[in-house]
């Protein structure tokens, strides 16, 4: 019999406990292992997910960058075909419809998904980006401007381009969205672009229009032309005036560039240059005087070489003038006009040297003449440093004769100053008759002049009742000392006749009517000075891209220094692309060498400091010195066709622009100093040798005394032309896409 061990109840119980412990241990271990496995799997998933995320982000950022780069490239490129310019047109249209398809992936970006397949990543990009324009609003303007419909809500705008690009990776659809602000702005500055010369504080250079306080009429003038070595007394006045001829023969006043000589409420007197003989002195400005401007004249349309008085030897001296018939037969008001020239006061070879007359004997009663000659007679030989209608072309066979200039608008209280000599001539008068002397009273009659042979004395009487004596008398026209008495008889310098009625008018800010319709608002203190202040105001708290009314609010890119800006211009690549309004920081300002390329995309360059500028030639082969006459015609043709898109505007906030070169084509310079109280050198030339400038100058004070002397050293005649397109009715715009992104959003959809 086999012995059988029968477990006792206690040992059975122990075995069961051990089994349970073992099972428990195993369970815990299994649980631990399962947890570890789960954790590892989660970790693996997380890493895989993180990697996918990373690759999706880098791909989408590259894709977005590519889209935006192409947007920036094409947005300002008019292209050659309609297909090339879909973006160009879209942003210059209402920009509210479906965004045009323009994007083609660049090879580098397009290759990424294939390259990443080797890394085990299956990228499925959606190459067509989702783009729309949002938040479109009109740009704001300074309060002193009246904004026409063209500008509001139209031509200048701000908004945001909302772009989303997408890719599917590892079964997940990733999207990257960003909003990029943009503005559509004019390449050129409103109001300023209309001007070939804008000097809003020229009054500081003419504290009084007489003697040493007159720093505007400072050019020694003598036939036949400027640039002669003056006699010793005039050594300080050797120089060349600024010539502002026109590059256009259009009858449109906007094509010639406007001029403003301020301040808006201060008078400026410009002495017209005189001549030795009628129409024989290129130096003369007297062609600007039309007999129709004289109220005393009713029917004479052209001056003639009028014999006014006799020399000691009995020869008649002829001057530019006219005879106005008086009521009695044989009675004539014999008028001659004189400009400011050395011949007027030269006792040896002057206009009066062979006669018993002297300027003093004719005009001594005129307070303006007295003021002019209070110290000496030198001012009689000094004409204006500004020739706002260019040189005299009366003897140029290529222009229609009689030469009457071109319709340039000169704004401001600007008067043409010259002298008028009137003899009252009657039968039997000896030696040219009786001088009609200056008198402030319009009803004045000079004492009767005795006749010979005992007949009744002759008395001057205007031809028609109501005509004033002052219209006929010898005087300094627009003299400056009698403005309160004879202001109605002052002659505005402006030749432009807006009403076409033969009236010569002063053009004020309220008359400023540019073709683009952006006028000054008389109800909001709309003066040129106010505009200059408001447009050029800078608010240090205004951030880039924030809305505002000034030029500052148009800036789309800020460069920390000139080096960064020069890189942006791409001068090294033969380009000069501004394409917008940019700002260059730094005390060093901006110093540019010659820019000779024709590959220019214009815009406004605002520089915190001063500017030094070499030549800007647009590819023309200028030689040092005055422009080769053979080059002049092609140059003028080129300027006539030069579009706004190729014009560069340089703005110095420090109010200092020094020109290293003296040849500038398609350039506007703006150098204004807020609150200027004295004459400052804002735009100057370092070594001018024949200045050729096509564009516009905007400053407070040109410092004519210094400029005219500089021009006189060896600069020769200069030429300041306007680029007609600057006054176009529809200003050229540029779309500025800002460099920053807003609302960057990377998400899984």
């Amino acid at each position: 019999m086999a012995l059988m061990r029968t477990p006792t109840p206690s040992s059975r119980c122990r075995r069961g406990t051990i089994t349970i412990i073992l099972l428990g241990l195993l369970s815990v271990m299994l649980f631990l292992a399962f947890t570890l496995f789960q954790r590892q799997r989660g970790h693996g998933h997380l890493v895989a997910f993180g990697d996918a995320h990373l690759y999706a982000r880098y791909f989408l950022e590259s894709h977005l960058g590519d889209v935006l780069q192409q947007l920036r490239l094409k947005i300002n490129d008019p292209g050659k075909t309609a297909g090339d310019r879909v973006l160009y047109d879209y942003f210059r249209g209402d920009a509210t419809g479906k965004f045009p398809a323009f994007y083609q992936p660049s090879p580098l970006v397009k290759a990424l998904p294939d390259e990443w397949t080797d890394l085990g990543l299956e990228l499925e990009p959606e190459w067509a980006p989702d783009i729309k324009v949002v938040g479109l609003e009109a740009m704001q303007y300074p309060p002193c401007l009246q904004v026409p419909e063209l500008f509001s809500p139209g031509i200048e705008r701000r908004g945001t381009v909302a772009v989303t690009v997408r890719v599917t990776l590892e079964g997940r659809r990733y999207a990257l969205s960003a909003r990029v602000p943009f503005t559509v702005v004019c390449r050129l500055n409103p109001v300023f672009r209309e001007f070939v010369f804008f000097a809003d504080r020229l009054d500081l250079e003419q504290a009084r229009p007489f003697g040493k306080e007159d720093k505007v009429n400072i050019t020694f003038t003598k036939s036949p032309d400027y640039g002669q070595e003056p006699p010793g007394d005039f050594a300080d006045y050797k120089g060349f005036p600024w010539f502002f001829p026109s590059s256009s023969d259009s009858p449109d006043p906007h094509a010639h560039g406007k001029v403003f000589l301020g301040a808006d409420d201060k008078p400026i007197y410009l002495n017209l240059a005189g001549e030795l003989r009628y129409k024989e002195s290129p130096v003369s400005d007297l062609w600007m005087i039309n007999p129709r401007w004289f109220k005393a004249n009713k029917d004479i349309n052209e001056f003639s070489a009028n014999p006014i008085f006799m020399t000691r030897s009995g020869e008649m001296v002829r001057f530019r003038g006219m005879d106005i018939k008086l009521p009695l037969r044989g009675h004539i008001a014999k008028m001659g006009i004189f400009g400011f020239s050395h011949e007027l006061c030269d006792p040896d070879n002057g206009l009066f040297s062979q006669t018993t007359r002297t300027p003093k004997s004719i005009w001594a009663d005129d307070p303006s003449f007295d003021a002019l000659t209070a110290e000496n007679d030198l001012p009689l030989a000094l004409s204006s440093a500004l020739k706002l209608y260019g040189p005299n072309l009366e003897d140029n066979p290529d222009v229609p004769q009689p030469y009457t200039g071109f319709p340039r608008q000169v704004f401001g209280n600007v008067y043409a100053r010259f002298l008028m000599l009137t003899f009252f001539e009657f039968p039997s008068a000896q030696g040219g008759g009786q001088i009609l002397p200056y008198h402030g009273d319009g009803n004045f009659r000079p004492p009767p002049h005795p006749r010979f042979h005992g007949s009744e004395p002759a008395t001057f009487e205007p031809p028609e009742p109501g005509q004033k004596y002052t219209w006929f008398m010898s005087r300094v026209v627009s003299g400056g000392a009698d403005r309160d008495v004879l202001s109605d008889d002052y002659l505005p310098y402006n030749l432009f006749d807006p009403l076409g009625k033969g009236n010569r008018v002063l053009l004020k800010a309220a008359d400023f009517a540019p073709a683009d319709g952006l006028r000054l608002n008389p109800n909001r203190n709309g003066t040129f000075t106010t505009f200059a202040r408001e447009w050029m105001s800078f608010d240090p708290k205004l951030r880039l891209g924030q809305p505002g009314t000034s030029l500052q609010a148009r800036v789309c890119a800020i460069f920390p220094n000139q080096k960064a800006f020069k890189q942006y211009l791409r001068l090294d690549e033969g380009k000069c692309w501004v394409d917008g309004v940019v700002y260059v920081r730094g005390e060093e300002g901006l110093d540019l060498e010659d820019i000779t390329t024709t590959d220019i995309r214009g815009g406004t360059i605002v520089v915190e400091g001063g500017i030094r500028l070499g030549n800007i030639t647009h590819g023309f082969a200028f030689k040092p010195g005055p422009v080769d006459p053979a080059l002049l015609d092609p140059l003028i043709d080129y300027i006539g066709k030069l579009p706004q898109s190729k014009i560069l505007t340089f703005v110095s906030r420090a109010g200092s622009i020094r020109l290293k070169g003296d040849k500038h084509v398609g350039v506007q310079l703006v150098a204004l100093t807020p609150g200027v109280t004295g004459i400052t050198d804002q735009i100057s030339w370092e070594s001018p040798k024949g200045i050729f400038f096509a564009g516009g100058l905007v400053l407070d004070t040109p410092n004519l005394v210094r400029r005219v002397k500089e021009f006189g050293k060896d600069a020769g005649k200069n030429m300041f032309l306007y680029v007609p397109s600057m006054g176009d009715a529809k200003p050229d715009t540029v779309v500025q896409v800002f460099p920053r992104y807003d609302n960057y959003d990377f998400a899984i959809e």
Binding site: S11, R15, I18, V47, L108, L112, Y568
Partner: protein
């Protein structure tokens, strides 16, 4: 409980625990590798983002300076060295340096640059490829593996 029972129990337990231990080891190794992979990702993104943030020309100069077949030890990266050398870390520099040494001693990187023009100089864009490699087994160079990341730098200038 007899000795036999105990032995049988231990054998069963050992059979049960061995795969668990082996699994634990493998998990730890995988976690270690994952950690290294993540570090490599951080190094690659850091390097790429740093270059992409520079102005175009500067980015190209820097990238081409680092580009080539020769790998650079991560610890010799001048930016990292500059960061470690910062005065703010003066007190704990030794600890930081030793930690870095421990974590990154076998990490290397190299760069490749491809231009849009296919020539030496890009005009509008260039692609940066970052290779970051490390040893999976610290003592074995043959276990070196790499992470590759690419990004495109665009020229702001038109």
């Amino acid at each position: 409980m007899t000795m036999l029972e105990l032995l049988v129990g231990l054998v069963i337990f050992s059979f049960a625990i061995l795969p668990i231990i082996s699994f634990g080891t493998s998990t730890t190794r995988t976690t270690y590798i994952t950690g290294k992979h993540l570090m490599a990702g951080q190094i690659a993104t850091g390097l790429l983002d740093r270059l992409l943030a520079l102005p175009f020309d500067e980015a190209f100069t820097e990238a081409t300076k680092l580009a080539g077949d020769q790998p650079h030890p991560v610890l010799e990266d001048p930016v990292l060295a500059e960061m470690v050398g910062h005065q703010a870390l003066a007190e704990g520099r030794q600890i930081v340096e030793s930690d870095l040494q421990k974590s990154f001693r076998f990490f290397e990187f190299r760069l490749a640059v491809d231009t849009d023009t296919g020539k030496a100089q890009p005009t509008r864009q260039f692609k940066i490829t970052v290779f970051v490699s490390w040893r999976v087994e610290e003592g074995n160079e043959e276990t070196r593996t790499a992470l590759i990341l690419q990004g495109v730098k665009f020229n702001d200038l038109l």
